[in-house]
């Protein structure tokens, strides 16, 4: 068993090394895979704030992922077709600038999380799982029938969006951008976990009555956690859309919500690096098993069952002890 902090460091260095190695060996697709893992990791780190720290089993996080994706899709679509975006009295021109898109994605998904959270947090347990699922489905069906932005077909963005000073079409530069964001968010999530807010949130998961009796409102703690969580997952959605240069209602699907939970659990719930490990393992499995058999999902299912039944702490739980302070 090694300390968690070392593992976090090792995993991030490993991910970076894979991408740089692929650059040296001229295997751009490996960089693309590493980028995919990085972005999924970011989405899962977001989910882990609600799931791991807040104990909120959200089965509808695809809603935020999709909102982030569509924030990118819609802004870039208007920019590439040179049509302004009419929002009631407001007219906005589209944009291909990543920072602006990210900000929009974060704000939009945070707002959605606030609304969903206000309603969903009235329930708990299975009801919470199901109501978040229902909200996800609402977004899914809405996106499918929203013909202005492609409906089921989705939106294609022909060229990746811009970031000042970078050529984002170059796989390694785009990877670098995503990787930096992941590190920043991990730093934030790590601080959050040990901050007064994180302490109270974690206590609210373990002993909500206790938190109430010291004069803290668990609902408000959970709501904020849900909003932060949605915002991070939304940011990941915008990046994912940029990786694929494409958004579609599939980003809202309940299977995606399920897969995000899978990433968190596979890696290790409520562990800072858990979701990252889970995402790397998932992408690797998908790629390696997918080459071996057409029916690779069976083996993913089996792997998942084994983790749930026999390795409660996920992969991180197997190799690292929980760090304190």
């Amino acid at each position: 068993m090694i300390p968690e902090r070392w593992l976090t460091f090792a995993v991030l260095v490993g991910l970076l090394a894979v991408a740089l190695g692929a650059l040296v060996m001229d295997r751009p697709f490996t960089i693309t895979l590493a980028t995919r893992a990085t972005i999924l990791a970011l989405a899962a780190v977001g989910l882990n704030i609600a799931l791991g720290q807040g104990g909120l089993v959200s089965f509808g996080h695809a809603a935020f992922f999709g909102i982030g994706g569509y924030a990118m899709g819609i802004l870039a679509h208007h920019a590439q077709t040179f049509t302004p975006l009419e929002l009631g009295p407001l007219t906005i021109t589209g944009t291909k600038s990543m920072p602006v898109i990210w900000l929009t994605a974060v704000v939009a998904s945070a707002l959605a999380a606030l609304l969903i959270g206000l309603l969903a947090l009235r329930t708990s347990g299975v009801y919470f799982i199901m109501i978040t699922l229902a909200f996800g489905q609402m977004f899914f069906y809405f996106a499918i029938s929203w013909s202005a932005y492609g409906g089921e077909d989705g939106l294609s963005i022909y060229v990746r969006n811009d970031f000042p000073g970078l050529n984002t079409l170059d796989p390694i530069q785009f990877f670098g951008l995503c990787f930096t964001l992941l590190c920043l968010v991990l730093l934030f999530a790590g601080r959050l976990m040990r901050s007064p807010f994180g302490l109270a949130l974690n206590a609210a998961r373990q002993a909500p009555e206790r938190v109430e009796t010291v004069g803290l409102d668990p609902m408000r703690l959970r709501l904020l956690a849900f909003v932060l969580s949605g915002a991070v997952t939304g940011l990941a959605g915008a990046l994912f859309a940029d990786l694929n240069r494409f958004v579609s209602p599939a980003m809202f699907s309940w299977q995606l919500s399920g897969e995000l939970i899978v990433l968190v659990i596979l890696g290790g719930v409520a562990r800072l690096i858990g979701p990252v490990v889970g995402a790397i393992a998932f992408v690797t499995l998908e790629h390696v098993l997918g080459d071996v058999t057409e029916f690779w999902l069976i083996w993913l299912g089996v792997a998942l069952l084994l983790v749930v039944l026999f390795a409660r702490g996920g992969i991180v739980g197997l190799v690292a002890r929980r760090g304190h302070g």
């Binding site: 295997r27 751009p28 693309t32 995919r36 029938s145 089921e152 077909d153 240069r245 980003m251």
Partner: protein, 376 residues
């Protein structure tokens, strides 16, 4: 799922494939609910490559799981790592929209064996993009034309509420000249059509046009047959194709559907195709198999003339479409979409097997409605 397959190996099951000179990337759906279509396209394509006897064509096949993000990821892999010259295989319009624009912009040729979204036929057309199947609206337009010819004057039309469904109804209305008894959008993936059938019954229509691909069509047809509503039905070939007809069963008998291909189109290429496909795979070929087969033959015909590395010459060779299509006459319009006859077929039973028989030509030398918007 990834198969590295040289044509020679596929044909003769020989070991050591020769040095491949042309690399083809096929992204298609091989797992999940839509896998039947992808399998047929793949099998038709590989059959043609094998029959050509060429051993210098390498086909890289990957499964997109019918997910756009997976398709894009595979496309990146094929272009960046495998460095394919030509891509093909995508079944679904939304996946095509995700993959094709970026791929052709990177200089790869894309030959579509199935999906034909209007954007790629109109403003988004591209010199490296060729559609060998149809523009999405074509079969629906033919259904509208056939309805006129049959003398229908009051149609009830329905399709799922998503872009392809909206295009289908638009396509039908573009050619159909009668009145509409009703127009309905159903949910994508809907499995129960009792409510819609009740509305059809109450509408007083003289014909029903529907576009409900995959399992939706199976459900609709079974329930429609069981409802006792006797109004004749017309639809595009997708719900009457070889792959799913057996699951629909008696419910489909006698239904007229429109298709650019049928197994009884009378030409030697088609007869040979049907026979060899059945011999090779032990099942009757479908529409999709014929499209895969034609796509491969188009590619082969162009390779006779030029290498993909000589892009301009290769493109000209593709545009000429000098190959024997299973459909008989085949030519490309100015936007690289087919100009072809579209037939009306009727579902029949041959022994234990349900299949189709041509009853007439719905549209002759039909091109699509978007060619004018394409500035190539």
């Amino acid at each position: 799922m990834k198969t590295l397959l040289s044509a020679a190996a596929a044909a003769a099951l020989l070991a050591a494939p020769a040095m491949a000179e042309v690399k083809v990337g096929m992204i298609t759906t091989l797992s999940g609910g839509g896998a039947g279509l992808g399998l047929d396209v793949r099998d038709g394509f590989l059959l043609a490559i094998a029959q050509s006897g060429r051993d210098d064509i390498e086909v890289v096949i990957e499964d997109d799981q019918q997910k756009p993000d997976i398709a894009v990821q595979i496309a990146d892999e094929m272009i960046q790592s495998e460095r394919v010259d030509v891509m093909t295989g995508i079944i679904w319009s939304n996946l095509a929209m995700a993959v094709v624009p970026a791929a052709v912009n990177q200089g790869v040729f894309y030959l579509s064996p199935n999906a034909g979204p209007s954007q790629l036929a109109g403003p988004g057309c591209h010199e490296n993009y060729f559609n060998v199947a149809w523009q999405n609206d074509n079969l629906h337009e033919a259904a509208g034309a056939w309805a006129n010819e049959t003398g229908y004057t009051n149609s009830f039309i329905l399709a799922p509420n998503y872009p392809a469904g909206q295009d289908a109804l638009t396509g039908y209305k573009r050619f159909y000249e009668g009145e509409l008894a009703g127009e309905l959008y159903t949910q994508l993936g809907q499995t129960d059509y009792a409510a819609e059938i009740a509305q059809i019954r109450a509408s007083g229509a003289d014909s029903v046009f529907f576009f409900l691909p995959g399992g939706m069509g199976i459900s609709f047809l079974k329930q429609y047959a069981d409802s006792g509503v006797e109004i004749p039905v017309i639809g595009p070939a997708f719900s009457f194709d070889q792959g799913i007809l057996q699951a629909v069963g008696d419910a489909a008998l006698g239904v007229v559907n429109t298709s650019q291909w049928s197994k009884d189109i009378d030409n030697p290429t088609n007869a040979a195709f049907v026979e060899s496909f059945e011999a090779e795979y032990g099942r009757l070929p479908s529409l999709y198999a014929s499209q895969g087969f034609d796509t491969a033959n188009l590619l082969l015909s162009a390779l006779e003339v030029a290498e993909p590395s000589d892009a301009d010459a290769f493109r000209e060779a593709l545009r000429a479409a000098e190959f024997d299509s299973t459909r008989g006459d085949f030519a490309f319009g100015p936007n690289h979409h087919p100009i072809q006859d579209i037939y009306a077929r009727e579902v029949i039973r041959e022994g234990d097997v349900f299949t189709n028989r041509i009853v007439g030509v719905a549209l002759e030398d039909h091109a699509d409605a978007y060619a004018d918007e394409c500035s190539m």
